[in-house]
């Protein structure tokens, strides 16, 4: 019988080298922790107190109460807009004023979208609509119930030109509401306070809407009603639960306070179908890796040009550190295979940065971490096979780009690369892309980078995301002043120095742009996570991908097409 046997992977790291590597990553991880803490504190204690004085909970407190005790949430978009300012008063918008997290409620993964009521009363800033839409898209792709904790005074008006009219303007949130609804994804809303204009629309399409006694939903607030001032009409009068629960039927239930509302939202989730994760584990139990995932930071050398063993990373991510490599003998610059996370099958595709034997020139080596013809063909076929079998895919990028030069063009790498891009663009399996370190140029694209719509794309503190490395770009920009070996050709010492300075400036600017915080700020990655947190994300991703039944192919392993691939490759065991 066709069977996939997994094999042990990995070994203990050399202590001293690992410590040096960890020390190098430590300041980057500390910076990440600091930025996360800054976002978490919103506009600060004063605004937390203001919320509490109204007898309300902060948005973070609501989330803490809605998820199962002892479980941790996984946030996306934490660093959106981080360290940017808006409007004439140079306001910051921590987290773009909205908190989007995956959280476990009654054993089911959910997407929780909560306006941050400690940041300008939950206003929508530039990129707030995009951040909400991205969270909605993740929920749609994974069929996760969505919980909206609504408490928003509407657009931050000084910046309305950037948030209102475009393709991803605030209105697109309601498009996503509608699509989720049309796809049968449960949406549950709790309205806790101001809900003006756009904020008012957000909960309405949800299947169930709860309102607290402090909540109101209005197309326009009392301030815009003619004569409202003299009649002392409040927004609560015109759009509170008295109106919407009992007269307009725009909401379903009224509850006295935040605590009750959160409890009722939990009850709603409990009444949904439970997770199919246990079923798809097929008797396997989640098992931690034999090598601690906290050690991953010890693997990556300080200098990004130095080599390391990607198998050591994989060994620290998968259950029991057991892995079945597929087609290990061809395209060795790529590592692909299947393993379990949280007891669930996933496919992994990773770059192998080590030197590999040149397939055509016996005795020669060539660097890994580059897409060559065989490797592209291998991962395309593996990705298609996972697509056929419904095995969720995890891409681990540390890629410098495609092979270049006359030979590569003659081999038709443009064509092979396009085949891979086609595969990634049309696959129906959930995909998680991790930019472990380098994510350069077309390699970033071909390996399921953000434009190819992974469900989630993560960066790490050591991610370098760009078309090419700064040094390479500087060479391109100054090519007329360089010889064949890229040495500067100059008539005078002065000119040489000028060119050197110019190249250095280009390099520095590119290196600064490669900062993962920069990518996260503008939503080119969904979240920056530490290397030690990756295992948790993979487990959660697996559990989310297998939670809901009926919307995607999940073949049982007995009839996987992967068996056919292995048999044809003469690797049945």
């Amino acid at each position: 019988m066709a069977r996939i046997a997994l094999h042990p992977l990995g070994s203990q790291l050399a202590t001293e080298q690992a410590q040096t590597n960890r020390d190098a990553v430590e300041p980057l991880e500390r910076r990440l922790a600091e930025r996360r803490a800054a976002v978490r504190s919103g506009w600060g204690e004063k605004y937390v107190e203001r919320v509490h004085r109204k007898g309300k909970l902060t948005s973070n407190e609501r989330i803490e109460r809605i998820v199962d005790p002892g479980t941790e949430t996984l946030a996306v978009g934490t660093l959106v807009n981080d360290e940017k300012t808006f409007g004439p008063e140079n306001r910051t918008s921590p987290g773009a004023g909205v908190i989007t997290v995956f959280g476990v409620v009654h054993g089911r993964w959910t997407m929780i979208i909560a306006n941050d009521n400690t940041v300008a009363s939950g206003s929508w800033w530039p990129r707030t609509p995009e951040k909400i839409q991205r969270a909605q898209e993740m929920a749609l792709r994974l069929r996760l119930p969505v919980i909206y904790l609504v408490d928003s005074s509407g657009l931050f008006l000084p910046e309305q030109a950037h948030t209102f009219p475009g393709r991803t303007g605030a209105g697109a949130i309601f498009t996503m509401n509608s699509r989720l609804s049309a796809a049968g994804v449960p949406q549950i809303a709790g309205v806790f306070g101001d809900c003006i204009a756009g904020g008012g629309y957000m909960p309405i399409i949800s299947d169930v809407v709860y309102m607290t006694e402090q909540a109101y939903m209005v197309i326009a607030g009392a301030a815009l009603i003619k004569g409202g001032k003299s009649q002392q009409v409040t927004s609560l009068d015109i759009g509170g639960p008295d109106v919407h629960v009992h007269l307009s039927s725009c909401a379903d239930h009224r509850v006295p306070d935040d605590e009750t509302c959160v409890a009722r939202l939990r009850d709603e989730v409990a009444s949904l179908p439970s997770s199919a994760v246990g079923y798809y584990r097929r008797g396997a139990e989640p098992a931690p890796p034999r090598f601690a995932s906290s050690d991953i930071a010890g693997i990556f050398p300080l200098d990004h040009r130095h080599l390391y063993d990607m198998r050591q990373v994989v060994a620290r991510l998968v259950d029991d550190s057991l892995f079945r490599e597929v087609l290990p003998h061809v395209g060795r610059e790529m590592l692909c295979g299947v393993a379990r996370v949280s007891g669930l099958w996933i496919g992994l595709i990773a770059n192998n940065p080590e030197l590999i034997d040149h397939p055509e020139h016996a005795g020669e080596k060539r660097p890994g971490g580059i897409l060559y013809r065989e490797g592209i063909a291998k991962i395309s076929q593996f990705a298609r096979t996972c697509g056929d079998d419904g095995i969720p895919l995890v891409w681990l990028q540390d890629i410098s780009g495609f092979d270049i030069g006359a030979e590569a063009e003659k081999q038709g790498l443009l064509g092979y690369g396009s085949s891979l891009i086609y595969t990634n663009s049309t696959t129906s399996v959930p995909t998680l892309t991790v930019l472990l370190r380098k994510a350069s140029g077309a390699g970033y694209y071909a390996m399921a980078g953000m434009p190819y719509e992974p469900v989630i794309q993560l960066a790490t503190p050591i991610t370098r995301l760009a078309v090419m490395e700064g040094r390479t770009l500087a060479i391109g920009a100054y090519r007329t002043r360089l010889d064949d070996s890229f040495n500067i050709v100059a008539d005078s010492e002065e000119e040489r120095e000028r060119i050197e300075r110019g190249m250095k400036a280009v390099e520095d600017q590119i290196t600064a742009d490669m900062d993962p915080h920069c990518a996260a700020r503008q939503m080119d990655v969904d979240e920056v996570v530490t290397l030690g947190e990756l295992r948790r994300w993979l487990c959660a991703f697996g559990e989310m991908a297998y939670q809901s039944i009926g919307y995607r192919t999940i073949r049982n392993p007995r009839i996987w097409s992967l068996h056919d691939l292995l048999l044809l490759a003469d690797e049945p065991h």
């Binding site: 069977r3 997994l6 139990e285 098992a287 057991l322 065991h573």
Partner: protein, 455 residues
Amino acid sequence: MFRRLLIANRAEVAVRIARTCRSLGIETVGVYSEADAGASWLDAFDRAVCIGPGHAGRSYLAQEALLQAALQEECQALHPGWGFLAENALFATRVEQLGIAWVGPTPRAIRLMGDKALARETMAAVGLTVIPGSHGVLSSANEARRAADEIGYPVLLKAKAGGGGRGMRLGRDAAELAVAFEEASQEAASAFGDAGLYLEKFIAPGRHIEFQVLGDAYGAAIHLGERECSVQRRHQKLVEEAPSQAVDDATRERLGAQIAEAVAGLRYRGVGTMELLRAASGELFFMEMNTRLQVEHPVTEAITGIDLVEQQLRVAAGQPLALRQEDVRFTGHAVEARINAEDPERDFQPAPGRIEELSFPADRGPGHVRVDTHVTAPYDVPPFYDSLIAKVIASADTREDALDTLRDCLAGARVVGVPTTISAHLKVLDDSRFRSGDYDTGLIDAIGLATAVEE
């Protein structure tokens, strides 16, 4: 039932398993290292496969070689015996993913009980009394000190991945605890690759009492009574008996039912042993659970008439438990002596060599004698492995008669070529404290058989 089974072990236990397999019509495939090549005990199997060099790491612990042997011989099941890989969750996982039935509990149960700190919490959660101690793994010496201050000295530090006394240290006061913490965590890290420690109140003197349990894949579980294993040197058992003189019928029934319920709650599949510590006060505390067949299982077989290996195989083949608790009857008394090729005069140092002669008279005394051994003289005891050469189990209607039978058998035993533990057994069997039934783990020290038990 299975057609063919691989026994991933050697010597005495491998022969023991093969015996039951034969009675059930299961073909056996034995394995052996180069050091065991040509040994007469290999005749106990229908066929045998060489799996590597003498060093256990390259043979009896070589997962790849064992899996390869099982596949190549088309085995449907694998019995790990005890020791070696019997409590290795990864190996169990790898066996099962090949579609080969693992004769043992699920990898999850092995992992859960293998983490001694987690096992403690699990057992406390299902209502068993555990020794007062820390909650989970201690993060620092300071935390150890806080926990010790709370429960009171002396305390015993133990390795969460532990066993066999390694990574175990006594702390009689705060100063000693601080030193002990560093030592124990270093020892645990080097012995198990895991420095995690937890802490318990040190209870001494105590008696080591263990309950045999049996569960199936469907959530049914029973207990098969207790064994007493307080005769120990360096945390290793020398003499075991059943029933224990410190457990009366009412306690057995009450505690046994509680333990069986806990085991059923874990959906535990297979045989297992719940180890308890009995304080001088009479209180019984849960210590840990062994997720395998025990060396001393024959004493339970003797008083219950149940073949534990047969039960293991049936449960592993997906059969529901045919025995109900009320079917289990305890009759008479049994006592086992482990005969090791060791020199009691030299602090029980293993003494490998050639056994020229080995015989145990089975016709002495009033009771019945069972000898479990793989040795047929002449036999070379290889230096690589455990030094156990035989187990002698005597049973009779009364304890007195069982002890007499064992003593008479051992007194008449002839082992030529290597020193053995028999002389030590005879001293135990003649000791008045042991004879009275009122003894504890300090007995070997009291008799003066060993240097002080390491603390």
